[in-house]
């Protein structure tokens, strides 16, 4: 059985389903209970699961993330929300210093099976600090998993997997497409394993890798270019499914990586390194990158310029094919 849902509804559905299945799952964050979250991702959870399991916290990102780690060490399955990814940085310390290394520090005696959910990326015309895509920075933390869904079904499946995962997972939700895609989502329990990329389109001429909010733009660009491209949705930034990318590149010999975050030291750099490690001799051209610029995301009047729109991706594809 399936139902039609948007990405934000799929988040809500996954939370409902997992909270029903496992009463150790506790949801908290700023404005998540009484008002159901600023994007309504946690709507109706308070009514269904009560004030012990759906909790409005003080305005304290450090306490939200560090508190989730502690609660997880104690045996609960916290799903914490950071209202916008631009407000995670204060809690970066708790991810780096605590959550990501509890298992390592205690030689497996303790662990921090927690999820931090947060909307990320540009495109909703908000104020400063509401538009960042820093998955590259978060993917750099050993011990932390980072997932970025791009479809409603994957949102439900990956969030479910994240909640069930024995290690901490940062779950980055593409708010630009929170409500713009409505698609089939399996009813009931639905899990999509972390660490597995998905081939969205099979092709032979080149491989295009993208994730999150870049997926619709990437698929549109591939359509426009008329190239027989293989399109891979990475889905999990860390641990990265390099095998799927490498196998595809061995077949196509060409690759273009697309991401919204800044170019320098971005996830694209790592993908290219993995291709070099495993498939250098199969490459017929340098791997191309189409990315956000190495600048802060402009404020809303010029925000649109930042996002790698389809014509930029088309150019990247053409460059990868031109040699």
């Amino acid at each position: 059985m399936t139902m039609q849902a948007t990405i934000v509804q799929a988040v809500n559905d996954a939370l409902h389903t997992e909270m029903e299945r496992d009463d150790r799952v506790v949801v908290f964050g700023e404005d998540v209970a009484e008002s159901g979250g600023v994007f309504r991702a946690t709507d109706e959870l308070l009514e269904e699961f009560g004030t012990d399991r759906v909790v409005d916290t003080p305005l304290s990102e450090i306490a939200i993330v560090g508190g989730a780690a502690g609660m997880a060490m104690y045996g609960y399955r916290p799903v914490a929300e950071i209202q916008f990814s631009g407000f995670l940085p204060p809690a970066f310390d708790q991810l780096v210093t605590n959550a990501s290394r509890i298992r390592w520090r205690t030689r497996g005696e303790l662990s921090a099976p927690m999820v931090v959910r947060m909307p990320y990326g540009a495109g909703v015309r908000a104020l400063e600090h509401h538009s960042e895509s820093l998955e590259g920075a978060y993917g750099h933390i050993p011990g932390l998993k980072v997932a970025v869904p791009s479809t409603p079904a994957d949102t439900k499946g990956l969030l479910t997997a994240a909640i069930r995962d024995p290690d901490p997972v940062l779950f980055m939700e593409p708010k630009r497409i929170y409500r713009s895609i409505r698609d089939e989502v399996p009813e009931g329990e639905h899990e999509v394993p972390l660490g597995e990329a998905a081939v969205r389109r099979e092709g032979s001429e080149l491989t295009v890798v993208a994730w999150g909010a870049m997926m619709p733009a990437t698929l549109e660009a591939v359509e426009q270019s008329g190239v027989d491209a293989e399109v891979i949705d990475l889905r999990t930034i860390s641990p990265m499914d390099a095998e799927t990318i490498v196998e595809s590149v061995k077949k196509t010999g060409r690759c273009c990586v697309v991401h919204e975050g800044p170019r320098t030291l971005g996830v694209g750099s790592e993908i290219i390194a993995r291709i070099n490690d495993e498939a250098l001799m199969y490459l017929e051209a340098p791997v191309e990158r189409v990315t956000g610029f190495d600048t802060p995301v402009p404020l809303l009047s010029m925000e649109d310029f930042y996002f790698p729109h389809p014509p930029r991706i088309v150019e990247g594809i053409e460059r990868a094919l031109s040699v």
């Binding site: 700023e30 404005d31 009484e34 008002s35 159901g36 600023v38 409005d56 003080p58 305005l59 304290s60 990102e61 450090i62 306490a63 631009g86 407000f87 204060p90 015309r125 908000a126 104020l127 400063e128 600090h129 170019r263 320098t264 610029f293 190495d294 600048t295 802060p296 402009p298 404020l299 809303l300 009047s301 010029m302 925000e303 649109d304 310029f305 930042y306 996002f307 729109h309 389809p310 014509p311 930029r312 088309v314 150019e315």
Partner: protein, 389 residues
């Protein structure tokens, strides 16, 4: 360094057995007075009125009305699609104006929900419209007045402490001021910033508008503390709690605080007020608070209370309220027209000011992007520049 006394070096510690009782330090034993001059019914003690001349008393009124009209107009143009979003300050006028009225041009100011102080310091309504339209020149204009708006809640308190540190080193006749909200007091950055000020004895003034809500969260849930003011004691700095609907009390409190701060004694002021409108135009407060509560605060209107005072003082006849509103409306109309004149910018704007000197890779990205926009005009099917909101 402040010359405060500490018994931490005393060896052995001086103590007693409490007569067999373990004694707690408790907020239950703490009395936190709230400074008020004009009571809600309009009565006041003549002797408590701050030392302001008639013109200044009338100015306070004009600025409060400015604040209210500006919020109303901004909400209206946002609804017409001419702004990204906006956070109204309605209900907080006494708190905002009474405090900002004490500041001097050489002071620095980093605000949370308070826009009119920027106008009081010389920025224009146009600049504020640009800010809410997501045009970087808004903050640039505020920075020229040594002022900024903090978007990341609480993040500015360590900055304000650092600015105060510089003032201390300079022996400057100035204070560094942070406006913050009740929610901000839960952030780590706020604690660290205030603590630094207390530790080094910095000329930092912390003005907290407790407007009762951090988006949906009421203050009673934000903290277990009965008041925000009492938190200052933990950093060894003095605090004042003031009725934020009483503009004279706010002025009096902050004016007194500023005098102390100037001499290296940081002060924390909690101004008890209320956000009558939504958090921003994207928020729906009916989801988390009831009309009855809002109505109570509507009836505790700071402008009305001050008007009663002005009438008692015989100053109301000097004030032409309708003419003031008309002037402000005209100022807003002009500001909006001026903001609408703001031209679309080139993409070089995105790369400007990231560094003092554009690194080669950034210069390359800019060149490539400019060329691409020329080569592929279809990019503009996806791009809308919105200088008019």
């Amino acid at each position: 360094m402040s010359d405060r006394e500490s018994d931490i070096r005393a060896s052995p510690a001086v103590g007693d057995d409490g007569g067999g009782e373990v004694r707690y330090l408790s907020q239950r034993n703490l009395e936190v007075p709230t400074h008020q001059i004009v009571s809600p019914d309009g009565s006041y003690d003549e002797g408590a009125i701050p030392d302001l001349d008639d013109e200044e008393l009338c100015d306070l009124y004009r600025w409060m009305v400015t604040d209210r009209v500006f919020s109303r107009r901004m909400v209206n143009i946002q609804r017409r699609g001419e702004l990204g979003t906006f956070g109204s300050t309605r209900g907080q006028e006494a708190s905002i104006i009474g405090s900002a009225f004490t500041l001097q041009p050489q002071d620095w100011l980093y605000v949370g929900r308070a826009w009119t102080p920027m106008f009081m310091r010389g920025a224009s309504m146009r600049d504020m419209i640009l800010f809410w339209r997501g045009i970087e020149e808004g903050q640039q204009a505020f920075a020229r007045q040594n002022s900024q708006i903090a978007i990341s809640i609480g993040s500015h308190l360590p900055l304000v402490a650092g600015i105060a540190w510089g003032m201390q080193l300079d022996d400057a006749d100035a204070v560094s001021t942070a406006y913050l909200g009740d929610g901000a007091t839960s952030t780590g950055a706020a604690h660290e910033g205030i603590n630094l000020a207390g530790s080094l004895g910095l000329p930092a003034l912390f003005f907290c508008q407790n407007n009762q809500y951090a988006i949906s969260m009421p203050f009673e849930q934000q903290s277990g503390a009965n008041t925000i003011a009492q938190k200052a004691l933990a950093y060894g700095i003095d605090a004042i709690r003031v009725d934020g609907q009483d503009v004279l009390a706010v002025y009096d409190a902050v004016q007194s605080a500023r005098e102390r701060v100037k001499n290296g004694d940081p002060v924390f002021v909690e101004s008890v007020t209320y956000r009558l409108d939504a958090h921003t135009t994207s928020d729906d407060p009916t989801r988390y608070r009831d009309d009855e509560e809002v109505q109570q605060w509507e009836e505790n209107d700071p402008i009305e209370r001050y008007r009663t005072f002005l009438k008692s003082e015989g100053l109301w006849s000097d004030i032409d309220h309708d003419a003031i509103v008309e002037d402000i409306e005209a100022e807003f109309d002009e500001a909006l027209a001026a903001a609408n004149e703001f031209e679309e910018r080139g993409v070089a704007e995105m790369f400007a000011y990231v560094y003092d000197d554009l690194p080669p890779e950034l210069a390359r990205q800019l060149d490539e992007f400019e060329e691409l926009l020329e080569r592929r005009p279809e990019m503009y099917d996806y791009i809308e520049q919105r200088p008019k909101g």
